[in-house]
Amino acid sequence: MLLRVSAQSIGEEVELTGVVEGAESVDERIPAGKELTAFADAVVEGDQATLDAARTDLLAAVSPEQFVDAAGVVGNFERMVRIADGIGISLDPNFTDVTADMREDLGLNEFASAVHTLGNQKVTTE
């Protein structure tokens, strides 16, 4: 959701499929999007060799300052997801309606945690 809105704020419409499908599907209008996605994958799930390679690729694609930002953001969201699911919070009210199409398109309603995150709000599935 914030990816779509933030891209629109700088005059871009981006495809969001890379968020779910990974580096090969990342919209090329996001600078270094493939390298950023591969880096996130490697930090979260990769072995040491995969992570070392992803780090080298990312450092070749972005500035040192941007690389540090990337590591911080990945670390930050390893935290956010556990808070959201560990506390069972619901989606913020102002996000529910505006994300309906996107959730459907990306299959996010199929995530196990959708049950508590949507709370009593209806999940629309085909």
Partner: protein
Amino acid sequence: MPQITDDQRDPGILANVTNDFATCKVPVREDMANAHAVVLSRLARPGAWWTGAERICIAAEARAAITCPFCVERKKALSPYTIEGKHTIDPMTEGVLTEPIIAMVHMMVTDVTRITQKAIEDLANAGFSDGHYVEALGIVVAIRSMDQTCRGLGVPVHALPSPVAGEPTGARPAPLVDGEAYVPMLAREQPHAPDEDLWGADFAKTIPNVARALSLVPDAVRDWFALSDVQYIPAGKFGAVNEGRNLSRPQIELLAGRVSALNDCFY
């Protein structure tokens, strides 16, 4: 929002964090070292529900869970609550933490999407209040966040600090509301003293649920803001969707979305 001040961080801990970051191939921002040092300094002190020694053992178990074979087995099980076994723990935890909280801490790291309200109620029946649960989760997520940042940067994870003696306060903040999540959270208004620094009346109506989630334990929210401010977007700028850091906001949100998807996190 809570502000970081020099007196919140132990100088020795800051020196250790700075030394860890100095091994990175590129310079790491000073504000990130400060934030990590503040969180680690707070980790060492007694909290609302756990002693300093217990808090550090919870952090150690957050790390031990990553290589725990029983966690792997449990993750594969149709239900994580029907499988029996023993978690592999950090030696420092022996005799400090008991099995119910160790099992829950490991689940927070390796299988968080399958934590249920009933599991939290079962923990309460074993003697651990909702406050114990929230404080433990706050510790787990803070350590996980800092460790994964270090892993990304290619530097060692920070050493866990030595505990500071003292007893938990048992304090509950106000005003709490029930029914919005598995545990009570602070209401969408400025919290009462002594926690009015968490957010002001101006931010209260728009504060995202993920920022309120740990508010049963105010220091966990202070950790939340300390890390978010340097590793994502400063709290007052969440809604300013064209505000980035050195990365643009779309690049930041791509990373955020991807990490959430990898963790099967709907929120």
